[in-house]
Amino acid sequence: MHRRKSIKNIALLAGGLIALPSWAKAWSLESLPLVSAPLNPAAQNTLALIIETIIPESDIKGAKSLGVPAFINLMLADCYDKKTVDNVEKGLAAVESLATTKYQQNFTNLATPQKEELLLSLEKGSDTNLKDFYSLIKNLTIQGYTTSEYVQTTFLKYEMAPGHYHGCVPVKS
């Protein structure tokens, strides 16, 4: 977040937004590298692959194209304590080492069913730290995905102002 603040400050020094070159205004949450993100680039890459495996692209948009990896990095940077973030780091390292032990490959190179199998083994395993790690990433993935404009408006019948309340209606209506 510091970087964004700095850009804003620089803009102010330079005489306001008008003086900014176009690239400075064109960034979005997805395109902006989060300098203050607690994870190193390799860990961020593993995290992005996990997120993509949890909700992949299909005939509908997946977590990746909705910017969920950037959202989760932001949440880890701003909303979680060091202990939780450390556990995420360890969890991501564990995913990589499990990939090597089980499949003799990097997590990146695993086929989708192998990635799914590996992740589900974390959820079902007995290591509580790994379970916590996976559960946090899973929940954040679902949170980021389901609160996106695309999912809210396409699947969840999002209405800013419904204007009515019916207490008991059939699910399919």
């Binding site: 299909s58 996106s148 207490g167 008991c168 059939p170």
Partner: protein
């Protein structure tokens, strides 16, 4: 010089002064102004204008950077657990007014125009004679000086203007009022209502009476307020005026009379006591920005500063006649007052009803009126510990509600969209 002082005093003299601009302060302002009194309303916090000062009111969930969660660093500055990105602008930072908590105490403060009328849960149940007669009947505390019959017309007066939705349930211990149409119960609430009716004669589940306009009447339209839109984003401030707040209702109504002067950023220091007349004669404030101390005068002074701050103002109002605080001859000021109890909680999980859902959002909730110590003393405590149970039934349609999904992740998003229907529904209450 003498003339200047007289002029200054005249300039600062009103017919009435109201301390606080929240629910009761707003009402005091409205009633006083409507009756032709030139009224000064003092508010310690900043101005909050209806609609224009609700910065998050029409934001979509995805427009909140952290989807509502407040970053740790910010959270620490506020020193409390319940904070949301959507409503952070109403919260008080810990160092703004530090206080000692010997036991956990959630001191909800609304330091802005409108006060807690922007933050309340909008539940508006009437008291009954069972409440007013309780102390006299059971022999504890001091008898109330009034009874339900004295206050019933005033309930009606307020309800008609504020707009209260509810069902006429005909319960002697929860009297009916001037109701707009009630808000429906959901399937699970309807079920529990039936179960209670079948098994008990003294317990009911009803539609909570709440300050939401379900069918606007001319008096509401005159206030510029409309129908509740069932958004459930009330605490951000409602641009529709769908629920009652001082900002949407009483304060603009008072302003329209031309009799009201609203002075935000005015922290009341004390009430001025005139030793000769034996009466309160004015109010001392400190301007929150200039730190200047200013005196205002009036014959009528209403203290509507909330439970804690009203006590603090009176304790701070020291005179020869009242050396320990105005009206504190019995030494009870600052003691034995009560705030909202948030600590009693119960929850339950209900299986079934998986083919049913809700449409739109319920800003109110089901409500179980008091059933202990009503007709007879049936517990070992006097009066009512938990007066009623107000049940906000959160329907967790797993995976998709309120951004905290509970459904098991399934790698396929399509299948995941389906798990909305595959889990039991959870209900909880406080």
């Amino acid at each position: 010089m003498a003339n200047l002082n007289i002029n200054a005093k005249k300039k600062n003299t009103y017919d009435a002064i109201v301390i606080g601009s929240g629910i009761s302060g707003g009402w005091a302002a409205k009633e006083l102004c409507e009756n032709g009194l030139k009224t000064l309303v003092l508010e310690r916090g900043r101005e909050v204008k209806h609609i224009e000062d609700y910065p998050t009111a029409t934001k979509h969930p995805w427009e909140f950077e952290h989807r509502g969660q407040v970053p740790l660093a910010v959270r620490e500055a506020y020193g409390r657990s319940f904070l949301r990105e959507e409503t952070l602008h109403w919260a008080i930072k810990a160092d703004e007014q530090p206080f000692v908590q010997e036991k956990p105490f959630t001191w909800t403060r609304g330091y802005h125009v409108g006060g807690k009328s922007l933050l309340w849960a909008r539940q508006t149940q009437r008291w009954s004679d069972f409440d007013f007669e309780g102390p006299a009947r059971d022999g504890y505390a001091i008898d109330w000086p009034i009874r339900y019959a004295d206050i019933a017309p005033w309930y009606s007066h307020v309800e008609k203007f504020a707009g209260i939705s509810g069902n006429k349930d005909g319960l002697p211990h929860l009297p009916d009022g001037e109701f707009l149409p009630p808000i429906e119960l959901n399937c699970v609430e309807q079920h529990l209502q039936g179960v209670l009716a079948k098994n008990y004669t003294d317990r009911q589940l009803i539609q909570g009476r709440c300050a939401h306009i379900t069918s606007p009447q001319p008096i509401h339209l005159q206030q510029g307020r409309g129908k509740c839109q069932h958004r459930n984003l009330c605490n951000r401030g409602c641009p529709f005026g769908g629920y009652f707040s001082a900002n949407a209702s009483t304060l603009p109504w008072a302003a329209k009379t031309g009799k009201m002067t609203l002075r935000p950023d005015s922290v009341v220091h004390s009430i001025i006591y005139d030793e000769k007349k034996g009466k309160a004669s004015g109010v001392r404030i400190v301007d929150a920005h200039s730190k200047e101390m200013i005196e205002y005068y009036a014959k009528v002074i209403f203290v509507n500063a909330g439970a804690v701050n009203s006590n603090m103002i009176l304790l701070n109002s020291i005179s020869e006649r009242f050396p320990t605080g105005l009206g504190n001859d019995n030494g009870l000021l600052g003691k034995y007052f009560t705030c909202h109890n948030y600590r009693g909680k119960a929850n339950a999980q209900v299986e079934g009803f998986l083919d049913k859902t809700t449409s739109g959002k319920n800003p109110s909730n089901g409500y179980i009126p008091r059933f202990r110590n009503v007709l007879k003393q049936d517990t070992d405590f006097y009066g009512v510990l938990h007066r009623d149970w107000s049940w906000p039934w959160h329907e967790h349609q797993p995976g998709w509600h309120r951004g905290r999904p509970e459904a098991a992740i399934d790698p396929s998003p399509t299948r995941q969209l389906e798990c909305e229907r595959l889990d039991a529904r959870r209900v909880c209450a406080h």
